[in-house]
Symmetry: C2
């Protein structure tokens, strides 16, 4: 019987799918947390999330609406008035991380995500929170760096009950997209169920930054991406 519990952030993208597989591989019972923050591809990502939890046999799910990000604005992912920048410097919808601080920046997004995860984690007496952040590919987002997660972990442990001891585990923090693909392959992650495109919901567009990063990762890993692209 599994006695370690973890809240795992699952967007439906491949970074968090690989992170989930790692959590399971480490023996954690996974409590899957999915956020709808008013992003363009919300429904497609939710389908990917549903498909993935079914695949992994995860029965403890929580979906939280954080569309207040749209209210706060200042983000091309949530504010449809701002055009999406299309260069490789821009974030994937999965990790919000980039080499520069891009137009799709939602300020302190991971801070909000971790706060929600902490509330749930304390309620269910979890031992850990897993998040698929990557600081190498995406160093432009300050809240994707391990030093941020260390500081937040400290805040969690001062701001929760004495018996609550939560670790923030970032198993792919130093991965490249190529590493993500290789690790996923090794652990049997069903990449065909994941979704990365933040422009379209039918076939992936193949030209947004998230698609480009994904495709480059597969190419470098010399593995064929199983999902369908428009071009």
């Amino acid at each position: 019987m599994k006695n370690k519990k973890a809240v795992v952030l699952m967007s439906g993208g491949m970074d968090s799918a690989v992170t989930t597989a790692i959590a399971i591989h480490k023996g954690f019972q996974v409590f899957a947390l999915h956020l709808n923050y008013g992003q363009r591809t919300q429904y497609r990502e939710k389908k990917a999330f549903s498909d993935l939890v079914k695949y992994f046999g995860i029965s403890e799910l929580l979906e939280v609406d954080v569309s207040y990000f749209s209210q706060i604005g200042n983000s091309s992912l949530t504010d449809k008035k701002i055009e999406i920048t299309t260069s490789l410097q821009i974030s994937s919808s999965d990790t919000q991380c980039s080499n520069e601080i891009p137009s799709s920046y939602v300020p302190f997004r991971n801070g909000n995500i971790l706060a929600i995860a902490t509330s749930w984690a304390e309620t269910i007496n979890a031992n850990a929170i897993f998040i698929g952040a990557m600081q190498l590919d995406y160093s432009g987002y300050p809240d994707c760096r391990r030093e941020f997660f260390d500081a937040f972990e400290q805040a969690i442990n001062l701001g929760t009950k004495p018996e609550t001891k939560l670790k923030i585990i970032t198993p792919i923090i130093n991965f490249t997209k190529k590493d993500v693909v290789l690790k996923g392959k090794q652990l049997g992650v069903p990449f065909e169920l994941t979704w990365s495109c933040y422009k379209d919901e039918d076939k992936a567009c193949g030209v947004c930054d998230s698609c480009l990063l994904r495709l480059r990762g597969f190419e470098q890993a010399r593995i064929i991406d199983p999902i369908k692209y428009k071009k």
Copy 2:
């Protein structure tokens, strides 16, 4: 012209009303953040919030729905199935703080609140976040202690843009309710517009813990509470 900006958490209760008055007194332009988290007295608190911002002449407002707390549950304030405990150990709706960890505990609530405040604060280039937490009266809540706020401030400054420098200011952290009443009196806070009861929305019940704490504060300050009570 004011060039210092602060996001101020305003629940509609007297602790945050006094905190707002202090922020204004210190020369900050106030951006008022109000949260609806599915609490029983949500509409009455929102009215108090509206009355207070009008009184203070605050024009920058953000209301955020955080009813996901109800989903996470584990709280008598948000889960109507759990009966509210009625002893003085229990929190006010204003600060969620107590001498013991009570049934109304929403895990890591202040962590969530501060994360939302941070997202807004970074968007508007604010210098500070004000929160009316009190660690003396309410030491049962770990996320009401100054050491928690220090740790969270550290996480904020590691997780936001390099040019963002945010202070978490807790001006009444070491106040008792009596001190809150006296400070409010000194700064001309309109206590008649505030709402503390978390049981009723017409006249305050006078018997819930939040009412009892409020009434005791006024009594100790030898000032008459201007709001109407049922008994």
